[in-house]
């Protein structure tokens, strides 16, 4: 009974979707509502209004910044849930050795590469407003550097390099930054999170850069923390 039910449900769902897909406006047509209603303003006035020549960043960090704040809340919520359900990792000296010692070649290569990885992550974070990149993408690279380090040099070492005490502040920093800027703009008589509350475009660019950096560091460190918490469990 149950074996029959799932394929039946899927077929029905598929037919239902396909009927709609055939009626959708043809893909890539310049006259589609998606390209006519809201998009032209982003493209023509985005760079002047937000100071970002990367329009995706312009939307994320300016037009729809409230969504970005919500997104940071979700990431933070996942971390808070992890802390509530599993708790912070606590490492005792020598309790979690590597199962397989990596070869010297890998170690040396990593020592050489990791600074470049970090610089690349910072480059992606800082250049998000002007070219390909952005806060979260850079943060993900940063987190993957930390994870690679933990995999090769041992979990203990990685935790020692970035202990919980140092991480705690970074984890919450993006949301706090959003709140501070938001209420600053409220006190200047503008709406919440209006980045251009002083009317100076240079200052807006500066705030946007700050946003990128705080989002990048917060998401990177949060992902690293999630990794640490999960890793601890694996060892029991």
């Amino acid at each position: 009974m149950k074996k029959m039910f799932t394929p039946l449900l899927l077929t029905l769902l598929g037919i239902f979707f396909l009927l709609a897909v055939f009626k959708m406006p043809p893909m890539g047509n310049p006259d589609n509502p998606t390209n006519v209603v809201a998009a032209p303003r982003y493209i023509t006035q985005g760079p002047q209004e937000t100071g970002c020549s990367n329009l995706v960043s312009a939307i994320i960090l300016n037009y729809r910044i409230y969504d970005t704040m919500g997104e940071m809340v979700v990431i933070f919520g996942a971390l808070a849930a992890a802390l509530a359900i599993l708790g912070r990792e606590h490492v005792k000296e020598g309790l979690s050795p590597l199962k397989v010692e990596p070869s010297p070649l890998v170690r040396i290569m990593m020592v050489i590469y990791i600074p470049f990885f970090i610089i690349f992550a910072l480059y992606v974070i800082i250049n998000g407003g002007f070219s390909v990149g952005g806060g979260f993408q850079g943060g993900a690279i940063l987190a993957s550097v930390i994870i690679i380090y933990a995999l090769i040099f041992g979990f203990d070492n990685a935790v020692k390099r970035l202990p919980a005490k140092k991480r705690v502040f970074f984890e919450g920093m993006a949301i706090l930054y959003f709140t501070v800027i938001g209420f600053m703009s409220v006190f200047m008589g503008k709406n919440f999170l209006d980045l251009n509350f002083l009317g100076i475009s240079m200052f807006q660019k500066f705030l946007t850069l700050g946003l990128e950096i705080s989002i990048g560091l917060a998401s990177g460190v949060t992902i690293a923390s999630l990794f640490y918490i999960l890793k601890k469990v694996e060892r029991g």
């Binding site: 043809p26 589609n32 760079p47 994320i60 990431i75 849930a81 599993l86 390909v132």
Partner: protein, 109 residues
């Protein structure tokens, strides 16, 4: 009908991917496979949204001198934000799965 089918191929592909993910969630008892299934569904929805945002001969939405025809940046921004949200929920589901298997192990002992 056929014409729209050929121009909307990506939508159809993403719908098929969505159903594949749905099958993995509905039919597999393994928790990790369920999570993977949900991730496949998520990817398919992202593909769908990106498909909505395309425009013929449109350039990447980064303003460069001399280019006039840019694609709509909003779906990309939406996908980026949904991606981050997806990271959060995936992390949470892994945490729950890990804790669940841990407690089941304790139960057996």
């Amino acid at each position: 009908m056929l014409n729209s089918a050929s121009s909307n191929l990506i939508y159809i592909a993403s719908i098929i991917l969505f159903l594949v993910g749905f099958y993995a969630v509905a039919a597999r008892p393994n928790l990790i496979k369920k999570i993977i299934g949900i991730n496949i569904m998520e990817t398919s929805v992202f593909l769908f949204l990106i498909g909505i945002g395309t425009k013929k001969n449109g350039a990447v939405p980064i303003i460069v001198e001399g280019v006039k025809n840019y694609i709509n940046p909003l779906p990309q921004a939406v996908v980026l934000m949904a991606l981050v949200v997806g990271v959060g929920t995936t992390a949470l589901s892994l945490i729950l799965a890990v804790r669940l298997s841990e407690s089941e192990k304790e139960e057996r002992q």
